[in-house]
Amino acid sequence: MIRVTINGKTESVGAGTIEQLVHDKGLRPEALVVEHNFTIVKQPQWSRIRLSEGDTLELLSFVGGG
């Protein structure tokens, strides 16, 4: 396990990819935007980026309405 900051809170998560984190948290990929170390990562890249100790993530799940 590694420690990362997700939406401002420190959490212990598996040392995997962004895609694995999204899956482990049970988030719906089709509504989710991921910021990793202050850069938005498009969904096709989620499986290519491995998380490291101390990383900062923002996970935002959009809800509909405009």
């Binding site: 089709e30 509504a31 989710l32 935007v33 910021e35 202050f38 850069t39 938005i40 498009k42 969904q43 923002e58 935002l60 799940s61 959009f62 809800v63 509909g64 309405g65 405009g66």
Partner: protein, 183 residues
């Protein structure tokens, strides 16, 4: 500053209204839809505009405030394939789309540009208490982040408050407040 409006419904039409009142004079309005009677409880349209395309009706309404507006109107359903190209010439983009997946796709499509994108998430229901602001990359997102339009109706107070907050972000970034002088 040229601002693109992706979706000119409850959010987009009201953001455009506040931007124009704030001094913005170049807008690109993009929406596929037509004005319906059910829109009039919150969207910046009038009864005699029912049936017209939203972008054309909105263009008319905004020009009544500022006849010198430079407007482009595009009747188009935005999708992953056309989003980046549609807004390539805009300095900033307002996201006012209905669908949660389309919101995500627009934010991802414009992330690489580094240009400001202001988005809405959670504008349905009557409750105003949870409205907040989050920032991801070049994006600012405003809403309560929880109330989906599938679960609750949209009403004028919340929609217009969120829209005004979104417009404020861009008026601030664009330096429009500094240009106004006390008389």
């Amino acid at each position: 500053m040229k601002i693109g409006i992706a979706g000119t419904g409850g959010i987009g039409s009201n953001v455009a209204l506040v931007l124009v009142r704030g001094g913005v004079r170049r807008l690109k309005l993009v929406d596929f839809d037509r004005v319906e009677a059910g829109n009039l409880n919150r969207q910046f349209f009038f009864y005699d505009q029912i049936g017209r395309t939203k972008v054309d009706a909105l263009a008319d309404n905004l020009k009544r405030i500022a006849p010198d507006l430079q407007l482009e109107t595009i009747v188009l359903r935005l999708d992953e394939a056309n989003m980046a190209a549609t807004f390539h010439d805009c300095d900033a983009v307002v996201e006012g789309l209905d669908d949660h997946a389309a919101k995500k796709r627009l934010m991802e499509a414009l992330a690489a540009t580094g240009r400001p994108i202001v988005s809405a998430s959670g504008v349905a229901g009557p409750d105003l208490d949870g409205i907040g602001t989050r920032r991801l990359g070049n994006g600012t997102i405003i809403g309560d982040f929880r109330t989906d339009a599938d679960q609750a109706l949209c009403f004028a107070p919340k929609v217009t408050i969120v829209a005004a907050m979104m417009a404020h972000i861009l008026l601030e970034k664009g330096g429009y407040y500094e240009r106004c002088q006390l008389e």
